[in-house]
């Protein structure tokens, strides 16, 4: 497993853990371990109570669990097989997740005016995952170009 794969696998695992935690406390109905002791990042209750914490009946945390699990599986599969179609799925999930995560961070900053440390931790795992898959794609592109370039 390459360094990029290891970083992505670690980030996705943390992402799964954080999103499972956020989903479970929402389902149980208890507040996150958060609060004013965390300073500007302690606005979890406010973020969780906002309208943006779910899309209709689906909690955003549930989407996070599925997304991070998909990233983790794609990372491991690609590390083992190096197949292009797996890389495509990995890249698709990572870029879609990163775009949504940037949107969620903007919502916290400009619409809710509160930061939740767990949401930011989760977001950083998605953005790190996206950066690593881009790095893998660049390597793949270089290798492909080298293989297709006529020998001098």
């Amino acid at each position: 497993m390459s360094r990029s794969h290891r970083i992505s696998a670690l980030a996705s695992s943390v992402g799964v853990a954080v999103s499972v935690y956020l989903l479970s406390i929402r389902l149980i109905g208890v507040p996150a371990i958060c609060g004013p002791a965390l300073g500007p990042f302690g606005g979890c209750s406010k973020v969780e109570a906002s309208a943006w914490s779910s899309i209709g009946p689906i909690p955003v945390a549930a989407i996070g669990v599925v997304g991070s699990a998909l990233l983790l599986v794609a990372t491991i599969l690609h590390a083992r097989t190096r197949r292009e179609d797996v890389l495509a799925v990995w890249l698709f999930a990572a870029l879609a997740g990163a775009a949504i995560e940037i949107g969620l961070i903007a919502i916290q900053a400009f619409l809710i005016s509160a930061w939740c440390v767990w949401c930011l931790l989760y977001g950083s795992t998605v953005l790190v995952g996206a950066a690593t898959v881009i790095s893998v794609v660049r390597s793949y592109a270089r290798e492909t170009r080298d293989l297709t370039r006529p020998p001098r």
Binding site: A49, L95, A99, L111
Partner: protein, 225 residues
């Protein structure tokens, strides 16, 4: 590489669509913003304690064998669940039997409206109507810092709770009352409380609402049952 290019493009498109759906979900999925047109009529709380059972900042007999201290923020939605659902259940099961007293403490950290609500509650306590105001606040929660506990609405809630509004108006302007609310928050921090509601029963302290079975078991244990 064509497959990779398509995957990248599709990922970005799906992500952007996802963000748009999130933004559009807000007006349909959110807590409705409270009306600010002056027509607000406070909702009555689910619990109206019997005479003599709501004293000072507590609900239940002063000499009840078990005291459950609850730290809340009036805008915290889970505290609303506590105030509107769990407290009435505990009232029926233990308080009316003289077995339990629920003591309220303020940990107002969600914003100015939380703080103003807590100040209002302290001024209600001055008129021996803390619990009436407190339960009216939870019954009239609507979002956070969106005007549900604006000065105008708090005054209407005070009226609905049966307060002398002239005395209440004077009281909420008193800086000493704000200091009391601040002091509660400082004490919460010193106790390591990081969220609301936080329940304290003897040595046991928990953030959030435990299951009914767990809570009843702990109260029963404290009662020696």
């Amino acid at each position: 590489m064509e497959l990779i290019r398509r995957a990248a493009l599709s990922g970005i498109v799906v992500g952007v669509v996802g963000v748009i759906v999130l933004f559009l979900a807000n007006p349909f999925g959110g807590t409705p913003a409270p009306s600010m047109d002056g027509s607000f009529t406070p909702v009555a709380p689910t619990l109206t304690p019997a005479a003599g059972l709501a004293t000072d900042h507590g609900l239940g007999a002063i000499d009840a064998p078990v005291v459950l201290t609850v730290w809340t923020d009036y805008q915290c939605p889970i505290c609303g669940t506590w105030g509107n659902g769990v407290e009435p259940a505990l009232y029926e099961r233990y308080v009316t039997e003289g077995k339990l007293r629920i003591e309220h403490r303020h940990y107002s950290f969600l914003g100015e409206e939380s703080f103003a609500a807590a100040v209002g509650a302290e001024c209600a306590a001055d008129q021996d109507k803390f619990w009436a105001f407190h339960s009216h606040l939870f019954a009239n929660q609507a979002g956070e810092n969106e005007g549900a506990f604006s000065a105008e609405r708090l005054r209407k809630i005070a009226g609905a709770a049966g307060l002398d509004l002239v005395a209440w108006d004077t009281c909420i302007a008193d800086p000493a009352v704000r200091t009391e609310v601040d002091a509660d928050a400082e004490e919460a921090k010193s106790l390591g409380i990081t969220g609301t509601p936080t329940l304290v029963l003897g040595e046991w302290q928990q953030s959030g609402i435990p299951s009914a079975e767990d809570l009843y078991a702990r109260i029963d244990e404290a009662l020696g049952n």
